[in-house]
């Protein structure tokens, strides 16, 4: 019997930071010494390979494995930096029925044998890809921006997590964690953005982390490194590292890391919008 934990990273809305979050959490877990596999479920529009800097080494993918054209071990791409971190890439096929329910079940079951943590990066939307990504999860990380449409879509996703997953069908309740990304402290202070408490209140899901809007996220994606590996001291990396410790069961208060502004940064504060 394996002790693996399968986590789905989901949001409903696109562009809120699911892939960034998946890569950052998977890497932070691997840095703690766990055997970790990140699985890209976004068939047709894979991007986790690009964010993890593995795009040039992808040969086989999730669909090849589901169809029996390659074994899981052949399809796994090992991370350049951490040898206990792996990626199972999505395929670029346009066939949206490429993934089958049974196929995904057997892939997840096999991954449970090899890994401590399996992080499933869900596609946007509430279609088949998204429901398959969450289907076999033990826990869910719900990614939301502090913005109305994103929060509303998260609410739909929470409904699906409580209805369409294996855990729910077996009468259980899926443990959920809320990750708020692209948080802008200044705008929250001035009242122009939903505050974290507002989002937590509306969704009634405990907060696992707040990731501030940070130029380091873009920089990390440019060079193909998960933000937690690119610059450990950046506010976004610190937020993800703390969130990972909470995922591991540590009870630490949620803080919102801020950009460390040097003397010049303070002088020119507000210059860079």
């Amino acid at each position: 019997m394996s002790n693996a934990t399968v986590v789905v990273v989901t949001s409903g809305k696109g562009g809120v930071g699911k892939t960034t979050t998946s890569a950052a959490i998977a890497s932070a877990l691997a840095k703690e010494g766990y055997q970790v596999c990140a699985v890209d479920f976004d068939v047709g529009l894979r991007n986790l390979d690009l964010i993890m800097g593995a795009e040039r080494r992808v040969v086989f993918d999730l669909v090849n494995v589901v169809r029996g054209e390659a074994s899981i071990k052949q399809a796994l791409v090992r991370d350049k930096k951490l040898d206990n971190l792996f990626l199972l890439p999505a395929s670029q096929t346009r066939d949206k029925d490429a993934l089958t329910e049974e196929g995904v079940a057997s892939v997840i079951n096999e991954l449970r044998m090899y890994f401590d943590w399996v992080i499933c990066d869900s596609p946007a939307g509430i279609e088949r890809g998204a429901t398959l990504a969450m289907r076999h999860a033990d826990e869910a990380i719900i990614v939301s921006n502090p913005e109305v449409s994103s929060v509303r879509d998260c609410d739909r996703i929470i409904g699906l997590l409580d209805a369409k997953t294996k855990v729910a069908e077996d009468g259980g309740r899926m443990p959920k964690h809320l990750m708020i990304t692209r948080y802008d402290t200044e705008r929250a202070k001035s009242g122009d953005m939903l505050a974290t408490d507002d989002v937590v209140d509306i969704l009634s899901v405990p907060l696992i982390g707040v990731v501030p809007e940070s130029k380091d996220v873009l920089k990390a994606s440019n060079v193909g490194l998960p933000v937690t590996l690119a610059d450990e001291t950046s506010p976004a990396a610190r937020a993800y590292t703390e969130a990972t410790r909470r995922l591991l069961g540590e009870n630490i208060p949620v803080t919102i890391p801020e950009e460390k502004k040097g003397l010049f940064g303070k002088i020119f504060k507000g210059r860079a919008a």
Binding site: A70, Q74, N222, F264, F268, R271
Partner: protein
């Protein structure tokens, strides 16, 4: 524009040019490829497996083929895990 913003911009341009380069390599490849890589690697694997199996008793799952593409060159890495008792026969 002051001298500090010049420094800041330089740093960002550096990572942006890495991004551009990565995308160019990837997209050139994706536009040309229709799963031919997977077929090629799959066939190569079968061939290599057959040759190695003549000398060693190997687990088919312990053979990994990796392709790495960069601007001008594509490399093929073959990683075969030999059984603990493997000896040259």
């Amino acid at each position: 524009m002051n001298i500090l913003s010049l420094f800041g911009k330089r740093g960002e341009r550096a990572s942006a040019s890495v991004a551009k380069n990565r995308l160019q390599i990837l997209l050139a490849h994706e536009r040309a490829d229709n799963g031919t890589d997977a077929v090629l690697i799959s066939n190569l694997r079968e061939d290599i497996l057959a040759v190695v199996a003549k000398r060693f008793d190997i687990d088919p799952n312990a053979v990994r083929l990796e392709m790495d593409r960069s601007e001008g060159v594509t490399t093929l890495g073959i990683d075969i895990e030999l059984p603990p008792a493997a000896k040259v026969s």
